[in-house]
């Protein structure tokens, strides 16, 4: 601690330069935080996937519905503990830009399959009692300022007749983990089948299966696909995480894109900060030589320059990550992605900031350490 005034004084030497360097770290770490939050949003499906859940879709994809009777046939297969169905609704609230996920579900079984979502018992009873009732996620409620009792008109897509459907908000669910998607709307399948065109009767979008033993998931998914092989509606069963990952891949290699942008930003940051530190050390050649002359060791000088670089990185990184954390908690993708900055991402951010700080300071620190006092004093 007794060397702290020396460390801080060096940072105050060129205030604008220090502020700009801290600013570079801040912007870079803010961007890192946002990219991590967006990545988490894209990966949300993968991250929240239950190890014991399988998703059964039509062999040609989600656009191919499956017969409702499949539910009981799947339930009878060995290793299957539970099975629920769901269907994509795809309604539009006022404007197509107001996109959010809407699932047609069987309320009696939905929460059994997704225990990570919590709804108060009173609200759930209200939902069950109202065929036009819907359950919405907390973030969705915040996004449109919806509250219990509000009426929501949704314009159904063309394949559902293109008419306006009216719903009533009866319950609001909350996720139990930060990565849980609170941007969905669940509507009752009974109301759906009443109002949907007749050709929708008896079909569903997909099934979600809970296996008794996650270790047997592979055998169960094979058994499901075998059960419906050579039928009019063949199936493709995947683990929930594999399903979410393949869904994500349809949007392109987001991970690579994020990694590429992040790498370029940090490489640039490394060059900028490294150059700044090198200039800062070069300007202080005589002072560092004097420190050595009065008895400060080579290692101390190395540590001093590294500590300066680390301090800049820590301050800039902390501000940038704090800002990113605050912003990621907002609805920055208009409900399209459930963005969030996890503890792991924050820790990675801190590690990246400090690592960059060390790397940027390393070369100048080593050159300061190797500084020959007599030569340096003669030079100035």
């Amino acid at each position: 601690m007794k060397f702290l005034p020396l460390l801080l004084a060096n940072l105050k030497r060129k205030k604008i330069r220090t502020i700009l360097t801290i600013g570079s770290f801040m912007v870079a770490m803010f961007l890192f935080g946002l990219l991590a939050a967006v990545r988490a949003g894209f990966r949300q499906g993968v991250d929240v996937a239950g190890a014991d859940r399988l998703v059964v879709v039509g062999r040609t994809g989600l656009i191919q519905p499956l017969p409702l009777p499949y539910q009981e046939r799947i339930r009878r297969l060995p290793g299957v503990k539970d099975v629920v169905h769901a269907t994509w609704f795809g309604g539009i609230y006022q404007d197509p830009k107001n996109f959010f996920a809407q699932f047609v579900v069987d309320p009696d079984e939905w929460l059994r399959m997704y225990p990570e979502f919590k709804v108060s018992e009173a609200e759930w009873r209200e939902f069950l009692a109202d065929r036009q009732g819907v359950v919405i996620g907390q973030k969705l409620a915040q996004r449109f300022s919806w509250k219990i009792g509000d009426h929501i008109p949704l314009k159904a897509p063309g394949y559902l007749g293109g008419t306006s459907w009216d719903f009533n908000v009866r319950a609001i669910y909350r996720g139990t983990r930060p990565q849980d998607d609170e941007g969905q709307l669940w509507l009752q399948h009974k109301y759906f089948y009443e109002k949907a065109p007749s050709y929708w009767q008896g079909i569903v979008g997909w099934y979600v299966v809970r296996v008794a033993d996650p270790g047997q998931a592979l055998a169960v998914l094979k058994a499901i696909d075998a059960e419906f092989a050579n039928s009019a509606s063949e199936t493709r069963t995947q683990t929930e995480s594999a399903f979410a990952a393949s869904f994500m891949k349809q949007m392109g290699n987001i991970e690579f894109l994020i990694l590429a942008i992040g790498s370029i930003v940090f490489f640039t940051l490394l060059l900028v900060t490294g150059n700044t530190m090198a200039i800062a050390v070069r300007e202080r050649t005589a002072e560092l030589a004097v420190l050595k002359a009065v008895g400060y060791s080579d290692r101390f000088v190395l540590g001093l320059v590294l500590a300066e670089s680390l301090l800049i990185a820590a301050i800039g990184g902390a501000i940038g990550l704090a800002l990113a954390y605050a912003v990621a908690g907002q609805d920055i993708t208009s409900g399209i992605l459930p963005t969030y900055l996890s503890g792991v991402a924050l820790a990675a951010g801190v590690a990246v900031a400090l690592g960059t700080g060390v790397l940027a300071g390393l070369l100048p620190a080593v050159s300061a350490m190797r500084l020959q006092v007599a030569y340096a004093l003669r030079r100035v």
């Binding site: 020396l6 004084a9 005589a286 008895g295 400060y296 007599a374």
Partner: protein, 248 residues
Amino acid sequence: MVRVDGNGSGEALIRVRGLNKDYVRGGEQIHVLQGLNLDVGAGEFIAFMGPSGSGKTTLLNLLGGLDVPSAGTVSVAGDEITAMSRRKLTAWRARHVGFVFQAYNLIPVLSAYRNVELPLLLTPLSGAERRRHVEAALRLVGLQDRMHHFPRQLSGGQEQRVAIARAIVADPTFLLCDEPTGDLDRKSADEILDLLTLLISERGKTILMVTHDPRAADRASALLHLEKGVLVEAEQSREARQAAQVAP
């Protein structure tokens, strides 16, 4: 008593034998110091004079352990510093040498107090003890009322006095001053020289000073000339000679 013939007694504080320093510059080897011998007793005030490039600063650097000789030995108070490792030498400098430079070389972002405190940060002294030492050093150089000023707020003479306070604060065995009055006007230079003289008379310090200024050299108890890397002459300073003349 100062000797340059290599026949000094073993009681000398600083003992130099056969000191050589060579540099290679532009492919050519330059012999800066050539077989230099020197014995300096405790409490001496030695001035080195000589033309530019004669090796004065190089000698000072070798005596202070800032550079290593090509050949020869330097011993201070019985410790042969030329045999020390770089790390040991650094610790030795902290304990035994105070440096005063022509350009003061204060750290501009630290106050006078913090500059003077720098050598003490390497010691196990507590904060309160460090404060006592720093204040005493600044009082000695007459700058106790300027301790919170930054170098840019001080005159050249005041900056050099702060540098002297930094050099003496850890109570080193000897001081090495490289043209301490080179950047100062006459009045300030005289003040600095008065201060150095005071350190010898009241604190018993040993001072070795490089200078181009004959008036500064006159304050020394002995004047040594360096020419082309060789100590060619050792003489008592004018004041010493005058003192000898008035003695009964």
